[in-house]
């Protein structure tokens, strides 16, 4: 079988069987100080960072032979579609489930792999953060298609395949937070909306039925902390695990909000 033309070459894999050493940044409570612990677990082939955390839970003893508590973390789908296991691994925000030890080692060697919770969201415990802000933003922009009605609405409008393909790319967002973690403008205590929700404005405004709320969605991401606060660092484009076309999103957002402002100036 020949590989599909778009299949990227297989990433290199380490063949080292040295124990897996992990440094984890932990925090017992939202208001308590953070501390680091190092763990060393026997090597097993094909481990991802989630299975490393589970292995530590089954034997919660640090490299210094000190008994501790299992590391608290989130994980659900284990196939990089839910976003809940997002942590900072060796300095880069990504999903623990798709972070394979053999591949990390092929690039970065057998040294300790560091795990930290995302720093742009309030910490709950250890690697678990509170990502409510992203979901609140989705509510603010009405991240849905309004099809409720008390009578039968009939079939929706057709979407041409080119537009569908564009929208599909945007629909892959799993609200993981990588783009916000990498963003120099987005901080714990400011109001910046960030790439995540702006991409969803583009997504729902691009849908022929979703269009009816287009103005309200744009309004929600304009003003203080809105899209003009983007510093164009483009870190979001680089880190997005689902490869959303975020550079295009920011370009679109600038144009759409300008057009909307002019229209509003003359009509409202």
């Amino acid at each position: 079988m020949t590989a599909a033309p778009h299949t990227p070459p297989a990433a290199p894999r380490s063949t080292s069987t040295a124990p897996i050493v992990v440094r984890v940044k932990r925090q017992d409570r939202p208001d308590s100080p953070a501390y680091w612990q190092t763990f060393s677990i026997p090597y097993k082939a094909n481990m991802n960072m989630t299975s490393v955390l589970r292995a530590i839970a089954a034997d919660p003893v640090t490299a210094e032979k000190q008994t501790t508590t299992p590391i608290n973390y989130e994980a659900a789908c284990l196939e990089e579609v839910c976003g809940s296991c997002t942590v900072v691994i060796n300095g880069v925000a990504r999903q623990a489930c798709s972070a394979l030890v053999d591949r990390i080692r092929a690039i970065e060697g057998d040294g300790p792999i560091t795990l930290e919770p995302m720093s742009k969201f309030p910490i709950i415990r250890d690697l678990i953060v509170d990502r409510t802000r992203m979901f609140e933003n989705l509510k603010r922009i009405k991240g849905w298609i309004p099809v409720d009605g008390y009578y039968k609405l009939g079939p929706g409008p057709k979407i041409d395949p080119k537009q569908q393909e564009k929208l599909y790319a945007l629909s892959r967002c799993m609200t993981c937070g990588c783009c916000l973690e990498a963003c120099p403008q987005f901080t714990l205590d400011n109001a910046f909306v960030g790439a995540q929700v702006v991409a969803q404005v583009q997504y729902f405004n691009g849908n022929p039925t979703g269009k009816v709320d287009a103005d309200e969605r744009l309004e929600a991401v304009m003003g203080e902390g809105g899209i003009t606060d983007c510093g164009n660092a483009q870190n979001c484009v680089k880190v997005c695990p689902k490869e959303l076309p975020l550079a295009d999103t920011w370009g679109w957002a600038g144009r759409a909000s300008t057009v909307y402002s002019i229209k509003k100036f003359f009509t409202k």
Binding site: D28, R29, R54, A57, A58, D59, P60, T67, T69, P70, N72, Y73, I124, R125, I128
Partner: protein, 210 residues
């Protein structure tokens, strides 16, 4: 197409369906209070346990045995081994559990340990039901003990055939409700499959000759 319904302990779905959708609204407050009380008491029991067995280790042993013996290819002697292992794990859970985390703030280990009790009960229900069903149906390929190692035979010769006469029925596993710190005892019963509208036919996946 075999629907199985597990009714275990505090899963009250079936009862709620019988009463109607508003079962939660019409249920007396004392029911909820008693439930909360039982769960809190159970947490205290778990936190106080000073045994040696880590719940994640028990889970791994259960998962390994279930994956090895109670998936597609099913052999009774193997599944009895799993059943015996599950009994052992249940004993260890009840008598030798050690909680590696007794914190009361976002304690993943506690949630996991509570879920493990249900997982062990479900694993037992699945294994018991599988041991009793001596036929192959759907994805399940049951091999009689004496043919377990007869790799010289073809697959069709090795397996129990599908047996509509005896086994066109749904396995029900029923458990009497027990306090959360105990394991329920599964009891098997069977319910006929409704074939009044569609008559069952042989599943040949397009194969026309034997």
């Amino acid at each position: 197409m075999r629907a199985r319904r597990f009714e275990i302990g505090r899963h009250r779905l079936h009862a709620a369906q019988e009463i109607g959708e508003d079962a939660a609204q019409v249920a007396p407050q004392s029911l909820f209070d008693a439930g909360v009380k039982a769960q809190v008491a159970w947490e205290q029991t778990l936190f106080a346990s000073k045994g040696q067995d880590n719940p994640y280790v028990l889970h791994r042993l259960m998962g390994k045995s279930m994956s090895d013996n109670v998936t597609i290819i099913r052999i009774n002697s193997k599944m009895r081994e799993t059943l015996a292992l599950l009994q052992g794990l249940k004993d260890r859970y009840r008598n030798n559990l050690g909680m590696p985390d007794t914190g009361t703030w976002t304690n993943n280990t506690l949630t996991f340990t509570k879920a493990l009790r249900d997982m062990l009960a479900l694993a037992e229900a699945i294994t018991l039901a599988a041991i009793n069903r001596n036929e192959s149906r759907g994805a399940h390929f049951k091999v009689p003990d004496d043919k377990a190692d007869r790799h010289d035979l073809s697959l069709d010769e090795r397996k129990y055939p599908r047996n509509d006469e005896e086994w066109l029925k749904t396995t029900l596993v029923t458990c009497k409700q027990v306090p959360p710190d105990q394991f329920p005892t599964p009891e098997l019963s069977y319910e006929p499959v409704d074939v009044s509208i569609v008559t069952p036919v042989a599943r040949t996946y397009g194969k026309t000759t034997a």
